[in-house]
Amino acid sequence: MTLASLLVQLLGGLAGASTLFLTSAGLSLIFGVTRVVNFAHGSLFMVGVYTAWTAGQWLRPILPGSAGGFWLAVLLSTVVVAALGALLEVLILRRIYRAPELFQLLATFAVALVLRDGCLWLWGPEDLLGPRVPGLTGAIPVLGMPFPRYDAALIAIGPLVLGLLHLVLTRTRFGILVRAATQDREMVSALGVAESRLFTSVFAIGAGLAGLAGALQLPREPANLGLDLPAISDAFVVVVVGGLGSLPGAFLAALLISLVKAACIALGTVELGGFSFAFPRLTLVAEFLVMAIVLVMRPYGLMGRAAAAPRSLATTLPAENAAGAPGRWPWGLLVVGLILLPWLAAGSPYTTVVLVDVFCFSLFAMSLFFIMGPGGMHSFGHAAYFGLGAYGAAIVLKASGWPMLWALLLGPLGGFAGALIFGWFSVRLSGVYLAMLTLAFSQIVWSIIYQWDDLTGGSNGLTGLWPAPWLSAQVPGATANAAYYLLTLICVAIAVLVLRRVLDAPFGLALRAGRDSPQRAESIGINVHAVQWAAFCVAGTAAGLAGVLYAFSKGSISPDLVHVGRSIDGLVMVLLGGVEALAGPLIGAAAFTLLQDTAGRSFDYWRAATGVVMLLIVLVFPQGLAGLFRMRRRPSTT
């Protein structure tokens, strides 16, 4: 590789940064003003790519061979996606702004599910490659190397949009309102600004930017159904690395990440002191490595500032804390019923199979709730501990040849070890930064597991993790997996009890104190970071146990246990159940697992069906499923 080619690589990185910036800018605007973590943003980007393709098809016969057709299609698709964004805000999000923090994530997650199946239904399964842009088809020589004209155009577009947004934000009344709302939403509405109109228009602009980014991407890659998840995760990373609410920061972050990726690819395989290292493999996690490093060095991203403490925090998180006696007899009754179930349900053996999944995810969700609810630390990477537990058990079983029970006991230590390391870094951050750092760690764990063939089996994973023979033996008169079912039930019940006991103990109170008012907690002698760190470790161990139990129920594990999708599932379960009730995560996990299981069998477009049901739940029970019971009990509480 020559210097010239490195420069051309970096130039290419600039082009990539442009679309990355556009998507992220939209996400950043929306989050800044509405505090909605818009998980559907990647889906809006994907819709943008598809719409641009369709618009191009329509316009081609009308404007044959002219570049105008392409740009018109870009404009059209921006407008369509902006309208879609506005629609989502008016129909769904507007109704749940008063719900607990992050609850909107649940709604946007459901929207993402619906949009993904919607695209499949509308545009079919085949990838759709758009035409090249007339006038920008070929390459121009840069330092003697061909460089695509279209990429050169993209390099200009990024800064252009940044400048335009900057003008709008600084020079117009609308921009002033947006900035004011970003800093203090309550104050803006107290001053008589029509909040709903502001929110709708910001949502439309943010979505429009995603649509624009998608449309501009069409000449570079085909419209396909796998675009949404990478787009949303890239955009999140860029927004957080840049610093929430800072558009120049987002631009800088997009540049940094694109350049790091380009450099990794350019370096290729490097021989150093007898070791050869394939840098291109790093592109699997480059953005998350960058994010982890940036957040550890700068807790508010490259250009972000410490946010003013939100006014309403202490009032949004009441009740679950009622640390008094948890109703013991209904729990006992439930457990007794579940213990008898393998015999009661002998005629329908699948019941205990699906319940093993429900138990594992209940514990997983409960452990996430432990740091999210009382701890106030939103972990977006909780699957790391679930997966580390499962892999820990698998490696103990495979490497040592010890009996399975040892794997069951030692496996959770994998989750503990992960939480010990990642928790130490994470508790030094707060809010979305903390959430994204946990996500970065879990993605790094994922990529290591994904690529360490010798130890973890790489992307294929490990097989042959079955329970010991006495646990897979047939219990007389019960369902086939009764023995393992009972083991899972007992382990999960004990773990949940322990978690609840810890929350009722002084430790749990200290944890809540740290959440509700860190300064006051510190001043009465609570070491908030230490308490939070310990909470991470407890939660990590519990999640690890859930992972071990899950692994042995399936017989095999693969990196998808650690993947961001599973972390999101965990969040969805906790939010679905309600962050404010101890029973929330258990109900949420059961509801989500059974919903997916049923929808998968009953509907062709089962993801959309799951999404629609979740949207209904979100709109009808904005406190989560467990909130339903609370609302009934005390309808006047606000």
């Binding site: 020559t2 499949l120 390459a139 079955w466 059974l594």
Partner: protein
Amino acid sequence: MKSSLVVHGRALSALSTLVVLCGLGCTGAQAQTPIRIGEINSYKAQAAFLDPYRKGMDLALEEVNAAGGVGGRRLEVITRDDGASPGDAVRAAEELLARENVQMLAGGFLSHIGLALGDFARQKKVFFLASEPLTDKLVWENGNRYTFRLRPSTYMQVSMIVPEAARLKKKRWAIVYPNYEYGQSAAATFKTLLKQAQPDVEFVAEQATPLGKVEAGAVVQALSDSHPDAIFNVLFGADLARLVREGTTRELFKDRPVVSLLTGEPEYLDPLRDEAPAGWIVTGYPWYAIDTPAHKAFVTAYQKKFGDYPRLGSIVGYSTIKAIAAGVRAAGSTDTEKLITAFRGLSFDTPFGRAEFRRLDHQSTMGAFVGRTAVEGGRGVMKDFTYLDGARFQPSDEAVRRMRPADAQQ
């Protein structure tokens, strides 16, 4: 205090209701006469391949049942979507066995799911025909008595294309592959086999790109910088489209032969339309130009039923059902042990011709087409292709025996 008790009581009663509802819904279905096959795949996550696959299955089912079924029993397929998660695939398998009383399992697209289902089959002693997953491990290192595989494996596909690569007599090769097991083992096998065929070969660049997220511009630039004489590509799907577009713009493919796995499959070639690369050596499925009677009959029936042309997925789905029908007929029963005995060495018909399941490792000898791409009438096609029988592209029996676990060979 009291309120919290009530709250929990209510919450719990909801939980118990869910449990009871599930229990009610889980009563096993009664089915005596039909032969029931449980089929699990990532239908929505891999729709481009699996939509045609399902159509292929439907066509074969219709044919088999119209001809009176197998031994007078109808063939029935119950499909489940695994959501691209091995854990859910295993749960779906349990559900199919427990509630639907299926007598065997089939399906699988992603390699890790194929392996998970294979191991499940071994544990539960159920017959499993993996239709699609490509990983070599499925029949070798992780092989077992209960698992058979239809599609040519990664190793077979690579070894079909290596002789063509060697014939190019190019010295400096660059390799680009998706960074997961399929890409890695395709690249490794290619390097080993090409080195055997042509000892002076040199591998000057290797790019492992994240699946579905290739930074095509940078990768193409890096490949160019290594000045290769030829390129071996394993990317497919959207990654392939990105690579082709960037590579064409940046003149990577100018005067450089490209050897490319799977690119001739309509699933991946058709979306490129008139930008399909010309002159690449590829494996694939030229459905428009295969003129054997068996294949012609298949295409006619398929187009008549669905009004669409077949993809490779259609062939795999169709042949899966035909293979199962042949196997059950030979076994005269759906008993697992009898099925295993019958499938070992079983010869069955596919639209590509006759194939058989090898006794040695349960891999079918269904082959693939190797040819060169061209652009005709605004779309990519395969020209000068030949059908290569999978039986000829295998490691030595000795090598296979060493890789395959002993209990899998009993």
